[in-house]
């Protein structure tokens, strides 16, 4: 029987083609944030837990209230869900005497989409319903394409995309940084309404600089906290010049009075959450309580999307490997499938 040798020959030829084709395939590096990417900075030490952001988010996105109490009196979601894109969670310990203390204290944490530099949901989505804007970096959702497979729900390390299981025509619900309001000069509703500036909107690069400025300050001293939107360096240079009609064209955002205020510096953990996690996120967080304790997962600097796509593209990049294997298989099958063989199977 010479056929086994033939098979080996064919297999070897196939392997040769495959390895020749496979060598140029490179590991897919973890993506980094787009330079003009937009995001939020949430500072847990400034948050008073008023949940104005939760209410504003519901209104801006046309979401109905969700009830967790016996009497459905007002919106009381316990977590983000298909109709709740933003929520303030609470860390509690012991007597809960002191704010922002790990022992016998409490702390708040905002949970909403992190707008990852290299989002798992975007990599996972088979139909490009979940996309990352190349300029703003906003991770947006298109229900017109979505097939409801919920791979994004499974993939996200923050548990952010949520599916509306209660609806036969359910969609995925997640924060899109209020991108539908940007054209009117409005930014994220949660940041617009935040009374203390705990949630601040801006370019992530500016927000990161602001976060690092706060970390460098001595706890207990006084500093200035911006509110609403963090103006970036260029805008700051224009400050003092006549603002007015042209302001919106110049910055893109509606003009508002400066609302910054003086306040005490928190006892921060020296870590800007989101600076490096999964290649970085556009939403950044500061906290005085350990991030894992307030529900933020400990993530490596490399994204799982990069690992997944490296595997996919090594195997299927340019369809080189499948075509080479198919060639080898066809060669072998042509020899072994006898003319009358088809008659039988």
């Amino acid at each position: 029987m010479t056929t086994r040798r033939d098979f080996l020959k064919g297999a070897l030829a196939g392997t040769a083609i495959v390895s020749a084709g496979a060598t140029p395939v490179q590991a897919r590096e973890t993506h980094t944030r787009p330079p003009e990417g937009l995001g939020l900075l949430y500072d847990a030490t400034l948050c008073v837990g008023c949940k104005a952001c939760v209410a504003a988010c519901k209104e801006a996105n046309g979401n109905p209230p969700v009830f967790s109490t016996v009497d459905p009196l007002w919106d009381t979601p316990l977590d983000t869900n298909g109709h709740t894109f933003n929520i303030i969670k609470m860390y509690r310990n012991g007597t809960m005497e002191t704010k922002d203390a790990e022992q016998n204290g409490y702390s708040f944490m905002k949970v909403s989409c992190m707008h990852c530099a290299d989002p798992s949901c975007v990599s996972a989505c088979p139909v490009s319903a979940m996309t990352k804007d190349p300029v703003t970096g906003v991770v947006g959702y298109d229900p017109g394409k979505c097939i409801g497979c919920r791979y994004c729900v499974a993939a996200c390390p923050f548990g952010i995309p949520k599916y509306q299981f209660d609806d036969p025509f359910g969609r995925i619900g997640k924060c899109e940084l209020c991108r539908h309001r940007h054209k009117d000069g409005h930014y994220s509703a949660c940041a617009e309404v935040c009374p203390t500036g705990a949630t601040l909107f801006g370019r992530t690069e500016d927000l990161l600089a602001e976060a690092k400025r706060r970390l460098a300050l001595k706890p207990g001293t006084t500093t200035t906290y911006p509110r609403g939107r963090l103006r970036h360096a260029q805008e700051k240079a224009l400050q003092g010049q006549p603002e007015g009609k042209g302001a919106m064209q110049r910055h893109g955002w509606r003009d508002e009075p400066d609302q910054s205020y003086e306040g005490p510096v928190g006892n921060y953990i020296q870590h800007v959450y989101g600076e490096k996690e999964y290649g970085g996120t556009q939403v950044l967080k500061l906290s005085a309580v350990n991030f894992e304790k307030v529900g933020m997962p400990n993530l490596p600097p490399n994204s799982s999307a990069a690992t997944s796509e490296t595997i996919q593209h090594s195997l299927y990049g340019g369809l080189i490997m499948p075509i080479a294997v198919l060639g080898a298989l066809t060669f072998v099958a042509k020899r072994n499938v006898k003319p009358d063989d088809g008659e039988e199977g």
Partner: protein, 382 residues
């Protein structure tokens, strides 16, 4: 060397205890699915945002399609390694695969929350080649078509369409090659699906080697299902068992199991997570249960004499089917943790739909083998 006899329909009544029970399960499934499509997934399933995939995906699609790898595993043996003696197994295995995959494809639709948009999967402007699921979906769809073409000679033969059959068989070698490539691609990618889930999948299962683990177990499960089905079909139809074929095939299968165990345990050791297997928790227990299902068959059918015993082949087949199933269940559900506050156990409706899916397959298998030339002619066998 192909002295085996041509397949013929088994014949006999279509209405018996098995088909009636299967039929009832199918009707029950249809009723639940009707309810699901009117009231949504939340109305019938225990799915949540922490466990967005339940048994309809993990069992009906992932495990169901792996069970349907018999056609691919046997075809590989017959046409690539030119082992014509296994030829009588081709048609029955192909039929089971065809039904299994077609149902897995249907199962996906039942689970899709926005099923009316499914055309986007095949719409070039929506395609996302970075997505593992995109590759899986396109590849499985193509494979279902390929298998129908592979099986078409059976149907054409039954209806006496000789010319059409001749045309199809002329290019059968290419269809067979394609029918071997496609399952290699998507069965491995079904494992790659959990790579992007990152740290949410326990380290005992989260590995870049997962495509190899899934491919090897899919081939193993393919052979295991053939052992299982051959024994079952022989006993149900009171036919003699093709031991002269099954015994050597079981040896081939064990060889692949040995390779799998080396890769599996090697990967866990190299990544330094073997310690996780000795922690007192559910994941460790499930890991050992899964591994045991691949190890124990060596004690059941390890010797040539043992492999001549159909009961032993049957049990070993079931164990390996279970082992492959556990690998999939463990990675996607049991070893998958999205954080506190979420748990999942399938609802009765979910279980009944899964039962209905398997009942559909049994029902169709009986109808087709009784009416179409799939199983080898009984008298010619010795």
């Amino acid at each position: 060397m192909t002295t085996h006899s041509a397949p013929v329909p088994v014949g006999g009544p279509l209405l018996n205890k098995t088909t009636v029970i299967a039929g009832l399960l199918v009707m029950l499934m249809a009723a639940i699915l009707l309810y699901r499509f009117i009231f949504g997934l939340g109305a019938v399933t225990n799915l949540s945002d922490g466990y967005p995939w339940g048994i309809w995906i993990v069992v009906d699609v992932m495990i169901g399609s792996a069970f349907a790898c018999g056609g691919f595993s046997v075809a590989m043996l017959v046409y690539l390694f030119n082992r014509g003696e296994y030829h009588p197994l081709v048609r029955p295995a192909l039929l089971a695969s065809l039904l299994g995959y077609t149902l897995a494809g249907a199962g996906v639709i039942f689970d899709l929350g926005r099923w009316w948009n499914v055309w986007n999967m095949y719409w070039p402007w929506s395609a996302n080649p970075n997505s593992v699921m995109f590759e899986v979906a396109v590849c499985i769809t193509l494979y279902i078509f390929v298998m129908w073409i592979e099986f078409s000679p059976v149907v054409l033969e039954q209806f006496g369409l000789r010319d059409a059959k001749k045309k199809v068989t002329k290019y059968m070698f290419f269809i067979i090659a394609l029918g071997t490539l496609l399952p290699m691609m998507h069965q491995s990618s079904l494992g790659t699906l959990w790579v992007v889930l990152g740290g949410q999948v326990a380290p005992l299962w989260q590995t870049p080697a997962v495509p190899a683990l899934f491919l090897l177990t899919a081939i193993i499960m393919g052979y295991a299902v053939v052992l299982f089905e051959s024994c079952l079909a022989s006993s149900a139809y009171r036919r003699s068992i093709e031991m002269n074929i099954l015994t050597p095939m079981a040896k081939v299968m064990l060889g692949i199991v040995a390779v799998y165990l080396v890769v599996r345990l090697g990967d866990v050791t190299v990544r330094g997570v073997l310690g996780d297997a000795f922690k007192p928790n559910l994941n460790a227990l499930m890991f050992w249960l899964e591994t045991a299902c691949f190890v124990v068959p060596f004690f059941i059918i390890g010797t040539e004499v043992q492999r001549r015993n159909p009961a032993r082949l049957f049990v070993a087949g079931i164990l390996l089917m279970l082992g492959g199933s556990l690998l999939r269940l463990n990675g996607f559900l049991i070893g998958y943790d999205t954080g506190p506050g979420f748990s999942y156990f399938p609802s009765l409706s979910e279980i009944l739909v899964t039962a209905g899916m398997f009942a559909t397959e049994v029902l169709l298998y009986i109808v087709v083998t009784r009416r179409f030339p799939v199983l080898p002619r009984e008298a010619a066998h010795s």
